[in-house]
Amino acid sequence: MAVLATNSNTQAAARRVNIWDTPWLNAKFVTGSSIIVLVLLFGLLGPLFWNTDLAFTASSPVNLPPMWDKGGSPEHPLGTESNGRDMLAQLVVGIPASLKVGLLAASIGMGIGILLGSLAGYLGGWTDHIIRTITDSVITIPSLMVLISIAAYVRMPDTTAMALILALFAWPGPTRLIRSQVLTLRERGFVRMALLSNVPALEIMLFEMVPNMLPWLAASLTGGISGAILGATGLEALGLGPTRVPSLGTIINYALNSSALVRGMVWWWLPPIITLVIIFTAFFLMTVGLDEIANPRLRGYGNGK
C-alpha cells in the first residue's frame, strides 16, 4: 500500500511539472493571444463603461480635440470628429465589428476548406483533380480587384454581408493546407487501424485526422482572420463597406473624406490605424507561434517553449 502511495505521489508530481512543459506555452502564441484578448475585452466591456450611442452622427459636438489637448473635454476623452461622433465610442463599437467580419469570413473559408480539402485528400482520383484545379485557379485571381467590383455593386446593409463576400476568397488557402495534411495522415498507422476497426470515413476524418491537424487549422484560422480584416478594412476605407455601423475601416474612410490629414486632426485617423496595427501584429504572432507549435523543427534550440 505504501509503495502504491509513493508511486501515485511521484506520478502526481510528474504531472504537475508536465503542465508547464507544453508546446502551447509558446512565447509568441501567448503574447499574441493575450493582446487579442485585451482588444476583445476593450470591445466587449467598453459598452458597460461608455455610451455607444455617441458613435453615431450628431451625437456630440464636432471637431473636439482629445482631453489632453487645449480645448478638449473629459466628456469626450479621445475627441470627436466633423460629423459629431465621439472617437472613443466609435472604437468601442468598431473594434468588435471589424473582428467579427474577420472571424466570420475566416471561419466560413475554413469550413469550406475542411470540407473540400478532406474530400480531395481522402478520396483522391478525379475528385482530387477537380478540387485541386479549381483551388489553384482561384488562388491566382487578384482578390482585392474582384472584391472591389463586387462590393461596388452589392449594397451592404451590415457586416455579415461583408464577411460573406470576403469568404469568397478565403477558402483556397485552407483547402490546400488541409488536402496536404489529409494526404499524409491517410497513410498513418492509426488511420489504417481505424479502417480495420470498421470506422466510417466521416468519423475517421473528424475523430482521427482533425485532432492531429489542430495546430495547422488554428494557424490557418488566425492567418485567415487577419487577412479578412485587412480585406474588410481596405474595402471600408474605400467607402465600399456598410456605412451605418462604424468599423475601423469606416472611421478611416470618413477621416479621408473629411481631409483629416491636412486639417491636422491626428486624433481622428491615428487611433483606428494603431488599433489595426496592434490587431495584425497580435494575429501574426499567434500564427507564427502556432506554426512553431505545429512544426517542432521551427522551434530551434533552447527556446522550445
Binding site: 498513418r188 498507422g189 489504417r192 487501424m193 480495420l196 476497426s197 470498421n198 492531429n212
Partner: protein, 324 residues
C-alpha cells in the same frame, strides 16, 4: 471442397505508368497466388528482402489497395466489390498487426480508444461491463492487465507493451486470419520470442491463421508452416517452410539462407554479393526471371519467360530453369 478464407488469385500490382504519368510502370507484385483455409490454422510466411512486394501483398489482402489485375477473394467474395455488411464481416475476420507499434496509435487518445473503436463498430458488447470484460480477457491472453495500461497514453508504454496490445486488439475480434506485417522487427529479442509465442498460442488454441510477413528467416523457420519467398515481386520458391530453409533450391533462396549470420565469432561471414543496377529487371515490359542479373548460374533461357513452378519434393516448389 472447402472455401478458402482468403484466396489471392494471380494478383499483380503495378504502380505508376498511368495515363499522363511520366513514371515508368513498376511491378510491385507479380502474379501472386495463395489460399488460406479456415479448417486448419496455419502460419504462412511471406519472406523477402526490402522492396520484394511483401507489404504490397499485406495491403492487398487487407483491402487497402486494389490489385491491378487478378483477384483477392474473401470466402468466395471479391474484396473490391463488397457490400457494407460483407465488408464488416471481412474486417472482423481478417485483422492485422503492423511493424511499427507506435504509429498505429493516435497520439491524441488513451490506449482504451483502440479497444473502444473495435467494440463500438463491431457491436461486440451490449453494455459497458461486458465490453470491459472482453477487453480484459483479450489483454490477459498477451499477459497484460487493463488497469495497468488502458488509461495511459501510447507514449507512456514500452514498445513491447504496445505491440502486445495490438495483438490483444486483433484477438478480441476472434478473427480467422491475422496479417502480421513484420510484427517483431521493431521489438527487442526477448519480446520477439514472447510475441512469436503468442502467435503460436493463437494458432493452436484459438485456430487463428497468420500471414506472417518478414525478412527474418530464422523466426520464419521457428514458427511457420508454409512459406513463400518473394524476389522483386515474383514468388521464387514456395512450400513447406522447413523444407525450403533446410534445402533451398532457388539460387536466390540459397544465397539468402547463406547470409543468415551465425552467432559464432570465429565464423567468418564471407558471402560476397554484388548488386546489379537495382531496377533493371523490374519494369513491366521485362519478362523472364528477375534474379537473372544477380544469379551465378544464369542461363540464356532465363530471360525468355518466367519459369514454371517445378515440384522438387512434396510440398516444395521452385521457379527456376535449373530444375526443369
Amino acid at each position: 471442397m472447402e472455401q478458402p478464407i482468403i484466396s489471392v488469385q494471380d494478383a499483380t500490382k503495378i504502380y505508376g505508368g498511368g495515363f499522363l504519368s511520366t513514371s515508368k510502370p513498376f511491378v510491385a507484385l507479380d502474379r501472386f497466388s495463395l489460399d488460406i483455409y479456415e479448417s486448419q490454422a496455419k502460419i504462412v510466411t511471406i519472406a523477402g528482402e526490402s522492396g520484394s512486394g511483401k507489404t504490397t501483398l499485406a495491403n492487398l489482402v487487407l483491402g487497402f489497395i486494389l490489385p491491378s489485375s487478378g483477384k483477392i477473394m474473401y470466402k468466395g467474395q471479391d474484396v473490391s466489390t463488397m457490400t457494407r455488411e460483407q465488408r464488416r464481416i471481412y474486417r472482423k475476420e481478417v485483422q492485422a498487426i503492423f511493424q511499427d507499434p507506435y504509429e498505429v496509435y493516435n497520439p491524441f487518445y488513451r490506449v482504451s480508444h483502440i479497444f473502444n473503436m473495435v467494440v463500438r463498430h463491431f457491436n461486440l458488447a451490449q453494455n459497458k461491463n461486458e465490453a470491459q470484460q472482453l477487453i480484459e480477457d483479450a489483454l490477459n491472453v498477451v499477459g497484460l492487465r487493463g488497469s495497468e495500461i488502458l488509461e495511459k497514453y501510447p507514449h507512456q508504454l514500452s514498445g513491447g507493451q504496445r505491440q502486445r496490445i495490438m495483438v490483444a486488439r486483433a484477438y478480441m475480434l476472434r478473427p480467422r486470419l491475422i496479417v502480421a506485417d513484420e510484427p517483431v522487427s521493431a521489438v527487442d529479442a526477448s519480446l520477439r520470442a514472447m510475441i512469436l509465442d503468442i502467435m503460436l498460442k493463437l494458432r493452436d488454441r484459438h485456430h487463428i491463421s497468420f500471414l506472417y510477413i518478414t525478412h527474418d528467416l530464422s523466426t520464419a523457420y521457428q514458427i511457420s508452416d508454409k512459406m513463400y519467398v518473394l524476389f522483386q515481386g515474383t514468388t521464387v520458391e514456395r512450400g513447406n517452410a522447413g523444407k525450403i530453409i533446410e534445402n533451398p533450391r532457388h539460387p536466390y533462396v540459397q544465397e539468402l539462407i547463406d547470409s543468415i549470420p551465425v552467432p559464432d565469432p570465429k565464423m567468418k561471414w564471407n558471402t560476397n554479393i554484388t548488386l546489379p543496377p537495382e531496377e533493371v529487371m523490374r519494369m513491366k515490359s521485362s519478362v523472364g526471371c528477375r534474379f537473372y542479373p544477380r544469379c551465378a548460374k544464369h542461363m540464356d533461357i532465363c530471360t525468355r519467360a518466367f519459369p514454371e513452378y517445378t515440384q522438387v519434393e512434396e510440398d516444395h516448389e521452385v521457379a527456376c530453369y535449373l530444375y526443369q
